[in-house]
Symmetry: C2
C-alpha cells in the first residue's frame, strides 16, 4: 500500500493524525517510555523516539534491524539515480529506496520534491546489495524499502544549502538562522552545550548546591555603566538588567542558601563590540564558609566531571600563576600556556644603558627592565616585512620600540652590532635561543615592555602556525588559574582616584588586609581568574563579608555613594557568613570546546556583532502609543 | 586549647584561613570529594561539606559520631542556662555545650553574642546525659563539647526573629528578604524547587531533549501588549522582553533541534496585579513529529518522574475534560476536581418558564438553560447572610440572579413555593441532594449561568472549610487536562472581530480545520491546558506548521500585519516539521506543591504585588545623563 503524497499542509496535518494508528503509533512510543527511570544524562542511549511518530531516528538503523518495519521522519537531503533518496534528521541519515513498481506512482512525486521538504515514510529495513555498503555512513549497511510516504511539509527553494561545505556569509546565515541551525556545526555545538550544562548541574547538585533563580529586573548598580534600562509604568522609574547576579548571590549567602548555583542570563549594553553579546550566560556559583583554594578545587572537579568524554581528560590540579608571574612570563593576565616563547628577563645581560644610539628612543631608564622573547626559527621563517609588522604593533598599541635580533647559522651567532660578543652570548644563552631563532627585545617601563612582548608572542605564534608549524596542538586544553590580582587600579578618567580591578565586593588578600586603610593601591585581592588556552573563561573571588570593611571600601577608597548599597551593607551586618564564588563564561567555554571562532556559533539565536537580530529585525521602532505607558519620549540626536 | 573569640570581621577573615590547617581543612574536604562520580540528583546523600570549612552540617550528627572531633559553622540560634548554645544552619540544628572551665574564658563572649551571629566551632561529639535527649530534634541524642570557637561575623539586632512562629508582615519580610530566606518555609520551598527542576531536567535529557537558551532581548510581538520595552543605543529602536520563547521554540523545530526544553525566564508587564510577577519562569518544551496526545503523555511522565518522593505518587493517565465539559460541570475552564458539587443541568426539571414572578429577572428565555449546584449541609451550615453574599457575588461578577433552595428535615423537603411537589422532587433527585443540603440555581444564558455557579461552587467550598468540613484534603493533588478549547474568541474591544483564544500559532482541531475558512468562530483548537487543584499550571498546543494556513489565520482571521511575522512565515515555508509543545508555570506549580499562598513564597527575590523590589528599591529614578545614551526623555503625566 503506497499511501501517496499529500499536497497541502492541512491535509498533511490530518495525515499526521491518521499516522497515529498502529502499527507505529505515538501511544506505542509512550508505552515504551514507561520503563524509563531515574538516569543520569550520560547514562546510556537516550529515548529519542518516545512521544513522537517515528519508530527510529535517521541515524539509528543497523544490520540488526534488517527485516523490521520502521517509520522515519526527516528532511529530504539528497536524491540520486531516480530511485534513491537520503532522509536526514539530526541524528543521522538513512538511504531510502523507492521500489521499482512505485516509480511511476506517487513515489514519482517524492523523487521530484524540493530538497529540505519534510516527509514521513514507512518501510522495511533491508541489507544493501553487495558492494553498495557505505562505510562513511553509520547507517551505510542498510536501506529502507519504502511502502508508504507522506509529505508533511513542502519546502520552498532555500536561500542556501544545508551543507557544511557551503558556509555562506554570516549575515545571511543569521538572517535565516533557522536554516543555519540545521548545519552539523550548530547542531553539534548546541547539543554539546546542553550536555555540558547538564553534567555541571548533576555535579553541583551532588555537592548540595541549590539552583536558585535571581531576578533580572533589578535596580542600577552604582558605577554599572553598561546596564540596559527598562522603563516601568511608574513615571521616571526604571529597572536595570544586571550584568551578573553578584548582589543576589551574596544576599543568598546571607540568607543561608549556603551553596548556590545558577546558569544565569546576564546583560551588558556595550553597543557594537566584536564577539560580545548583549545577553550572555554564566555558570554562577557561590558558597559559604569557604576560601579561595576550595573554590578553585570545586571548579576543577566541576570541569573534570563535566568534560566531554570524547576529549582527553583534564589533569588536576590546574596550574596557577600570580598576576605578577603571568605578566612577567607571558605579558598578559590571561596567558596561553599551550606553547612556550615565554618572556625572559635579560636586564642583567643587556644592561640598562647598553642599547646603542640607533635605539635611543627605547633606551631604558635606570630603574627599568629589558625583556626578550625567542621566536623559534623566526630568523629563518619571518621576512623583514613580518618583523616590521610586529614592531609596528608594539608601537601602535603600547608606543613601545622593539628590537629584533636574528640568529644565523649553526652556531647561533647574532646579527647585532651593538652588543659585545660576550653579551650576545649571554643573551642567547639566557633566552635558550638556537640557530635561526629570532629574539625580540623591548626595554622600558615593565608593564609596557611585558604587555608589548605578550602581544607579539601571540602574533608570532599565529604567524608561525600560518607557516605550518604546529605550536598549539588542536585538542589541547590548558587551564590556568591567575591569582593575586591588584585589588584597585587607578581610574582611567582620573588616575589619582582608584577603581576596583574587578568589583567592590572583592576581599583583600589576607596578607594585604592592613593596606586597605593605608595604601589601598598596593593591596592584592583574593580574586582569581580561570584561563583556558589564553581566554578568560571564569573569574571569582572571596567576598568581603564584614560590613565595616565593605563600607570603608565603598566610601573611602572608591568614593561611591553607599546610599544605593545600603541593603547590601545592612545584610552584611545581619549575620553574613564568609563566602566566595565564581562565574564561568559559558558561551566562551563552549566556543573553545567546539573550536568555534565566535561565541555566536554556540548560541542558538545570537545578535550580530552590531547587536542586531537579523532574523526578526530587532531592535525595532516603537510607536509613541507603545511608549506612552512608560512615560518616555524619543529625543533624536541632532545631526 | 580554646582559641578564643575574634572580634573583628577582618580578623575573622584571617582566622578563616588559619582554620584551613589540618585536622579539618578545606583541602581535606576537597580530597574526599574525589570519590564523587556521576550521580543523579536523588541518588543518596549529597556531599554537603566538601569545599568548605565545616566537617559536618548542623543537621548531620548522630550517636554514631560520638567521640569524633568535628567542625561546625552556622548561625547562633538560641541560648539557654548560660551553658548551652544551639547552632543552626539550613540542614538542621546542633546543641553546643561550653565546658564548665571555659565559662569565664572566651566562652563567656559566645554566651553573650547577639543571636544570628555566625560562628565556627571545633569540638567533640558526646552523648547527651540520660534524660536530656530531645526526640524532636534529629540531632537530639548528641551535643558538641566545644574546644574552640571563632566568631566569623557578628550580627546586629535584627528587625525580626528568624522563627517560623513569628511571621511578620510581608512588606517587612520583603524589605529584609535575606533574613526571611533563613525561614524554614523559604528554605524548604527553594530547595524543593531546585530538586524538582533538576529531576525534570534529568527526565527530559533522558528522552533526548536539548536544553537551548533563547534570547530575551527580542522584538515586539504583534499584539503583545504586555511586553516590557528595552531602549537600544540606536535612536528610536527598542527591544522587547518576550512573554515566552514561543517564536524561538518553533524556529528551533524548523532548525531541526527536534526536542527542545528550557527553564525559561519570561516577562509580563501587567503593572500591579496580585500574585503575578513581572518576571516568571516556565518549563518550556517543544518537539517535532508529534501530536496532542503524545505531549500529554510526555508531561504526565515528566511530572510522575519528578514528583517529590514525600508526596503520594501521581496516577497516570490524568483525567481529561473538554472545554465544554469543564464549563458545564464546573463552570470554569480550570476546574478544581478535588471535590464534587458539580453543576447539574436541571433545565428539564425546572422547565424553561416555570420560575415565578418573584424571580422574573432571571426568567429564562426559551433557548436558555437552568443549572444548579448542591451544597452539602448548606441549609444547616450557611446563614442567610452567607446566601446573600453568594447571591451578591453572582450579581456583581456576572449580573446573574441566583435562587437558593434550602432543604430541610430528614425527607429532603424544600422550602420552594414556586415549584410543584413533583418538580421539587425531580430537582432534588437530579441534584442528588439530601436533607439539610442547599441548592443554588441559576437560569439564563449558558455561559453566564455556568460561570456564576462555578464561582459560587468555589466560594461555597471555602465557606464550608471555614466551618470545619474537609472537602479538599491537604496533600491531594488532582491533575486534569482541559482540551478542545475554542480557537478564536470575539475581541473584547470589538466583538465583531476575532482574537486568538491562546495565540495565533495554535493549530485547529483536525475535525474543524475546514471551519477556519468558513466559520472560524466555531473552530476548536488543538490547545490543551494542564490544571492542578483548580489552578492552571500549564498550557500548550499543536502548532500550525503550514505557512499558508498560518498566513490565512494572521491576515484573514485576525487581521494582523504579517510584515512583522515574515520571518516565521518564511520559516514555515522552509521545511518546518509538524510540532507541538507546552509550557508549565514553574512558580505556580511549586507554590501548589509546598502549599504556599502566593508565588512570592517560592521565588528567592520576588517583587511586591505592586511590582517593586522592596529590598533594593527598584524600579528607581535614573538621571537624564543615564538616559541620554538611549535617546529617551521622560514625559511625566499631567496631574
Amino acid at each position: 500500500m503506497f499511501r501517496g503524497v499529500l499536497a497541502s499542509g492541512l491535509l498533511a496535518l490530518r495525515g499526521l493524525r491518521l499516522l497515529r494508528a498502529p502499527p507505529l503509533s505515538v501511544r506505542q512510543g509512550s508505552k515504551r517510555s514507561c520503563t524509563v527511570g531515574v538516569r543520569s544524562v550520560d547514562d546510556g542511549p537516550k529515548e529519542l523516539s518516545n512521544f513522537c511518530l517515528r519508530s527510529h531516528t535517521c541515524g539509528e538503523l543497523r544490520r540488526e534491524h534488517v527485516g523490521q518495519r520502521v517509520m522515519l521522519c526527516g528532511w529530504l537531503q539528497h536524491r540520486r539515480c531516480d530511485r534513491f533518496v537520503v532522509l536526514r534528521d539530526f541524528h543521522g541519515q538513512t538511504q531510502l529506496i523507492v521500489p521499482q513498481d512505485q516509480l511511476h506512482g506517487p513515489g514519482h512525486e517524492l523523487l521530484h520534491l524540493q530538497l529540505e521538504s519534510v516527509i514521513c515514510v514507512c518501510g522495511e529495513v533491508r541489507d544493501r546489495p553487495p558492494g553498495q555498503h557505505n562505510p562513511n555512513m553509520p547507517t551505510g549497511e542498510v536501506e529502507v524499502h519504502i511502502s508508504s510516504v507522506e509529505v508533511l511539509n513542502r519546502s520552498r527553494k532555500l536561500p542556501f544549502q544545508i551543507n557544511e561545505a557551503v558556509r555562506v556569509n554570516e549575515s545571511l546565515r543569521l538572517q535565516f538562522r533557522y536554516l543555519d541551525l540545521r548545519s552539523k556545526q550548530l547542531q553539534h555545538a548546541l547539543r554539546l552545550r546542553s550536555n555540558l550544562v547538564m553534567s555541571m548541574r548533576t555535579f553541583l547538585c551532588s555537592q548540595g548546591f541549590v539552583d536558585v533563580e535571581t531576578p533580572t529586573l533589578f535596580k542600577k548598580t552604582p558605577g554599572g555603566a553598561k546596564e540596559f534600562v527598562v522603563p516601568s509604568r511608574e513615571p521616571g522609574k526604571f529597572f536595570s538588567l544586571p550584568q551578573s547576579p553578584q548582589q543576589f548571590k551574596q544576599l543568598l549567602m546571607v540568607g543561608g542558601l549556603d551553596r548556590y548555583f545558577q546558569i544565569a542570563r546576564c546583560y551588558r549594553d556595550e553597543g557594537a563590540k566584536p564577539d560580545r553579546q548583549p545577553e550572555f550566560t554564566q555558570v554562577d556559583i557561590e558558597l559559604s564558609f569557604t576560601g579561595q583554594q576550595a573554590v578553585q578545587d570545586l571548579v576543577e572537579e566541576l570541569l573534570c566531571h563535566s568534560w566531554p568524554c570524547d576529549l582527553p581528560p583534564l589533569a588536576k590540579p590546574f596550574c596557577t600563576l600570580t598576576y605578577d608571574q603571568a605578566l612577567n612570563l607571558y605579558g598578559t593576565d590571561k596567558p596561553d600556556t599551550r606553547f612556550g616563547m615565554q618572556l625572559v628577563d635579560v636586564t642583567g645581560e643587556v644592561g640598562n644603558n647598553r642599547l646603542t644610539s640607533e635605539h635611543a628612543s627605547c633606551r631604558p631608564r635606570q630603574s627599568d627592565c629589558v625583556r626578550a622573547i625567542c621566536v623559534p626559527r623566526g630568523s629563518e621563517l619571518f621576512c623583514n616585512e613580518d618583523f616590521c609588522t610586529l614592531k609596528g604593533l608594539a608601537k601602535e598599541h603600547f608606543n613601545q620600540e622593539v628590537i629584533v635580533m636574528r640568529l644565523c647559522g649553526n652556531d647561533g651567532e647574532t646579527t647585532s652590532e651593538w652588543l659585545s660578543p660576550g653579551e650576545q652570548h649571554a643573551l642567547v644563552e639566557k633566552c635558550g635561543a638556537g640557530p635561526m631563532d629570532a629574539l625580540l627585545l623591548a626595554a622600558g617601563e615593565r608593564s609596557d615592555v611585558c604587555l608589548s612582548l605578550g602581544k607579539l608572542r601571540l602574533e608570532c605564534v599565529q604567524l608561525l602556525e600560518k607557516m605550518g608549524l604546529s605550536l598549539r596542538p588542536c585538542g589541547l586544553f590548558q587551564f590556568l588559574w591567575v591569582v593575586d590580582f591588584p585589588l584597585f587600579l587607578p581610574r582611567k578618567d582620573n588616575p589619582t582616584l582608584l577603581e576596583s580591578a574587578h568589583h567592590p565586593f572583592t576581599a583583600p588578600h589576607p596578607d594585604d588586609a592592613h593596606l586597605i586603610y593605608t595604601q589601598p593601591q598596593k593591596a592584592r585581592s583574593q580574586h582569581y581568574d580561570l584561563v583556558l588556552n589564553g581566554s578568560e573563561v571564569g573569574g571569582g573571588s572571596v567576598r568581603i563579608h564584614n560590613s565595616q570593611l565593605q563600607r570603608h571600601v565603598l566610601e573611602k577608597v572608591l568614593q561611591e555613594d553607599t546610599q544605593q548599597m545600603s541593603h547590601l551593607l545592612e545584610a552584611l551586618d545581619s549575620g553574613a557568613p564568609p563566602h566566595a564564588g565564581i562565574a564561568l563564561g559559558l558561551d566562551r567555554l563552549v566556543a573553545l570546546l567546539v573550536g568555534a571562532h565566535s561565541i555566536r556559533d554556540v548560541i542558538a539565536f545570537p545578535k550580530s556583532f552590531r547587536g542586531h537580530d537579523l532574523m526578526s529585525n530587532a531592535p525595532d521602532w516603537l510607536s509613541p502609543e507603545e511608549l506612552a505607558p512608560y512615560h518616555i519620549n524619543l529625543c533624536f540626536p541632532e545631526t
